[in-house]
Symmetry: D2
Subunit: 376 residues, 4 copies
């Protein structure tokens, strides 16, 4: 536990992501006592009554209605942006200019142009910044990256990624802002596809250099508050991605995959082994190693809860599984440690920009009937 004064945190936004990030700030010190202490200083939002309730519930000392005022406060050191995506750029840019450390929940921005501005700003800032692809802190995926880097599965050739949910499977599910292009930018491709693309880059430590894609809206009209409305974003998307290292990756994301609740699944096939992961069983990693006696080869289901595994020393004894929200706590710890040490932290805004470019290439390809788009 450091002797330094605690860092003041402000979270902008108090709904789903605000709840998750609040949970992280509230608990990070209890599991990672080596990182700088934090103060849950201020929760920012527009609806005063709801905001007050959320702040009380999630442990915030104060509330504020305007993020512009908050980013200049002396008692705030870290700005954590949990707003809808189209506001990310404006808030984060201002916060960096104000000299604050900045966390931006994914996606980095809704456009490549905005993402580029953020990358430039982060590079010139004296403060630290990080993007919130929280699944990088799933212990099983951090282990997977280490195994790939160590050559455990050899040269990777093929990757298969999905992110499947089903909350739009019912055609009578109502219209929301997420289904309008003007507010959401994109549909499931950006929302869930971005996570999968980030993992591909993270696990392989390679860039996507070409993409071909298909988008589909299966339910084109949904009941809105004022009658039937057009759905103007995709509710499923497919892509074939090519990486700088020669890997071919298939990607499939959907909000209408009946029965799948949160199925970020990843398979990597190398010339000496393979890996498989499913977020619905996030404490497990399956590893196949094509070595040793053939009669004993198979897919090994590793329960990623040993203290030898990434992040686990901070948590519970072997076999005591982690939940989804713990990834945010570990993410906060990594960010705080980087602030203290000046060392690197990921994902960077540049990672976010790279993902944005892939999403854009997929959209371009889809608009051209699936023809491959080379990105460089």
């Amino acid at each position: 536990m450091s002797d330094q004064p605690a860092l003041g945190v402000a979270v902008i936004g108090y709904s789903f992501m605000g709840k998750a990030h609040s949970n992280a700030w509230r608990n990070v010190g209890a599991f990672y006592p080596d990182v700088p202490a934090v103060r849950q200083q201020v929760l920012v939002g527009r609806d005063e009554a709801k905001l007050a309730a959320a702040a009380a519930q999630y442990g915030w000392a104060q509330t504020a209605g305007d993020w512009r005022e908050v980013i200049t406060r002396d008692d705030v050191d870290i700005i954590d942006v949990c707003t809808p995506g189209h506001l990310h750029a404006e808030v984060a840019l201002a916060a960096l200019r104000a000299g604050k450390h900045v966390v931006v929940e994914k996606p980095l921005a809704n456009s490549v142009a905005d993402a580029e501005k953020l990358v430039a700003a982060a590079e010139h800032a004296t403060s630290r910044s990080m993007l919130g692809f929280n699944y990088r802190r799933v212990p099983a995926l951090a282990l997977a990256r280490a195994l790939v880097a160590d050559g455990e599965i050899g040269q990777v050739r093929q990757a298969r990624l999905t992110y499947l949910q089903d909350w739009l499977a019912d055609a009578s599910a109502p219209m929301t802002w997420r289904l309008r292009k003007e507010t959401a930018g994109t549909g499931v491709l950006g929302d869930l596809g971005s996570h999968a693309i980030d993992q591909l880059r993270y696990l392989l430590d390679e860039e996507v250099v070409a993409a071909s894609g298909t988008l589909r809206t299966f339910v084109s009209e949904r009941p809105g508050e004022a009658g039937t409305e057009q759905v103007t974003v995709d509710d499923a998307a497919w892509a074939t991605l090519h990486t700088s290292g020669g890997v071919v990756a298939s990607l499939e994301v959907s909000r209408v995959a009946t029965g799948r609740k949160n199925a970020l699944t990843i398979e990597l096939f190398g010339d000496r082994g393979a890996l498989a992961f499913d977020l619905e069983r996030m404490n497990e990693l399956r590893v196949h190693r094509a070595s040793g006696p053939v009669a004993l080869q198979g897919s090994t289901a590793i329960m990623v809860t040993e203290e030898e595994h990434p992040y686990l020393e901070a948590w519970w004894p072997a076999g005591h599984v982690l939940g989804w929200d713990h990834t945010f706590t570990s993410q906060a710890a990594d960010f705080l440690r980087a602030i203290a040490t000046g060392g690197p932290v990921h994902p960077t805004f540049a990672d976010g920009l790279a993902v944005q470019r892939v999403l854009s290439a997929i959209e371009t390809s889809a608009a051209r009937g699936g023809a491959r788009v080379d990105m460089r």
Copy 2:
């Protein structure tokens, strides 16, 4: 057991498929006593010594070196073509002309043109014909088709199909005729992709109407008998398929998917449910039904070994699992029954032609950088 004289069968080819088909003819009567009896009359092949050994081993009364002679024999009623694919058309056409019933192991032919000739011949023949996509007789898949037809999963929207093997994962695995375009026609796309495409059409009862695809040869040179040789076919392929009913299907096939031995996997997502199958666990079908109390919804692993399930009444009591080869026995039974009753039997040569056209569209798309090819 019928009082009719047994039907004489000739199998052309005695290697892997010859062994599997011989097994079917030897056992069909023991499990399906209601269909016409058969005589294992003659096994046809070129290498006399090997042929004689195979015939003795697999239970054939006679051998012959020339299929042309066999197709006109009076003691032969059924010609079962298990040769390499590029000979299928010639043999099958001649056999039909000779008035014989014909079974052709998949693929129907190595080209769309040949396939079209076979379809025309079959339509005009007085004898019966069938194509050997044996997985249509996996009980779990026959059940899956029935469930789709009965509307158990509602309107299907997305399908995911893979057929993954790993026998070429090792870059030092030697060259074979299967890796030369002139002998094999295509690589894994035709070999394994054809099974997957047939299943897609079979399970949905829909046609593929557009396709985009990508082919890749990861290991472009392999050790041949006379030094290093070029691999001239794909060892992995990806496609996005669009069906007449509006389903979007992703397809991925590979011979370098380390750790996967025979993974024909199929997932169908409908608006009221979903199905999942893996050939490596061929006695199981997983069914999700989005009905009843939400708290009880999930993926039901059905052990498809009940007498209420397709084909099972012929076999063993519940829980006594079937193997891969039993699919051929059931296929033979369906063909024999069709001969006896004059009723329909599938897959037809037309099914084979349809699959061939999809394969061709995928190849065309791949040659055009993945741009979508509309098939009508």
Copy 3:
């Protein structure tokens, strides 16, 4: 969020269970805003330096060295006993006498006699008490109990329970106080068996009325600090239990089950269905219902993360899995709600006593060569 002043909590003990309970008190308000607010008032322990560090890390306002002093403090309303088991009775009895609400981590006590005293004290107390079998708050198990009560699986006949770990599988693992009878009372039977027995009673809502058992110490000597020491408790145990409702349950617990990290597994077989659970996949419950068409029957893997499932409304959206520690948070919420409403809360000390009696019967049976011990 209540307007009542927050309840002051003192946790006695700061190691593994102290960390888990601290986590619960720190977070309960964030997920269950409807229950009385709490203050993390004081953490109690003997080692001053370690205690101070733990208190700072886990969020406690103060520390204290003597639990006797703490139980009478006005700013403390709830005493949460996380000491080793042989101290549970003394602390809890004193706390009840002092009029405090009391939570006791399992086991209730190390002897039936002590457990009886605690039950009597709790019955006469004006304050509330609860025992910490935290797995009652695993959503999947709470769902299981509801399904049994609703008759979803009919009349239960057989139950199979295990609790398997492997931290003693290595014969060279060192001696600890847990392996000495004088300090630990019993071995794996009490430590893990108690959880399983509690679940059996909880899920069925029945009592165990007879037991036969076997105990075994596979590694009888282990390296201690002063040379080789005798292990004087069991490292595996087996029992056959008979319930008031005629169910026969098998029980197997082990600390040498190589490869199993935290495998509390439960299967219930009724005349109309079955349930299965494994703590290593604690967000899942498998349910078999022997109703509807036979062709569609199977084991349904329910992902217990819907808001329709027990406890889930407090947490995250569907598919965002919970971890082990969340059970303690939900347990704290149930206790606080009971304090506020005066309503019932479970497990009671009487539940703890009932478990203790079953453990005792198993030990008695084991000492008699496995002969059945009738408990009434």
Copy 4:
């Protein structure tokens, strides 16, 4: 393929086991060309019409109504006893006396005394004999035995075995001869428990030396042809077994385990690893090895279909799964090879006797309230 004249086989009994054994004799030569050829000479049974139909269906040259006549025929070399268990001893003894090779389907006999007679007769016979515990020829289980023998999982300490079915789960399922003590001898204990006990002995290569047990009849009356009848055998049984090598094994067998169709499950825990098997997924073996980096340890699901695996070279390429009936074919091959070479073959009648003694010890223990019965 041998040049010796084919061995004539007679199967006594034509129902379930007669069908399975007929299948083995019909196919053994096709998969195991190295063993002596066989002739399906004669099928023996009492109901002439059914027998004739079965013989035609299963490929037998002749039928006979009286086994006594058959066992002396010159054209019969092997007598394969597939009658109900209470007739095994008489037929097998006579066949051995007649100098015939004898296969007896399990159980060896219905009593220890009969089993002892058979063992003595087999020892003095000049012909060969074998008992039909077919699961010894499940490739995964043969592999498991080899792994134990090779020390892959170290010193085995605990074993868990179940054999669970559910065909009696429905209380209205009708009475059969299997549920009357006078015809069946025992209930599920002998029927399914015998398989599990044989596997325990086979996998460990150890004897059971002590047992304690519990029997239960959950449904004590069932509808018979002439009104309600008493069920006089167990429909579930539990036992704790102790082996010569110090292993403790739990055993649970049931015919009322709703949802389990043929669940012979086996888990072995050694000090350096563990094995797990489930007959419902008979092509898989799960192996845990507690060696190498802790971060990579887990349970490896081996698909036991490689040519490096036991028996697989005879069958199909990797990933092409076997079915239940193939175990009988491999068993027949092993027997024929032993006849040809004079080498050993298992299981012997002595194995059957050993199993019978364990069953008897369990019954004795159950009658004594579960007290442990030492067998030597």
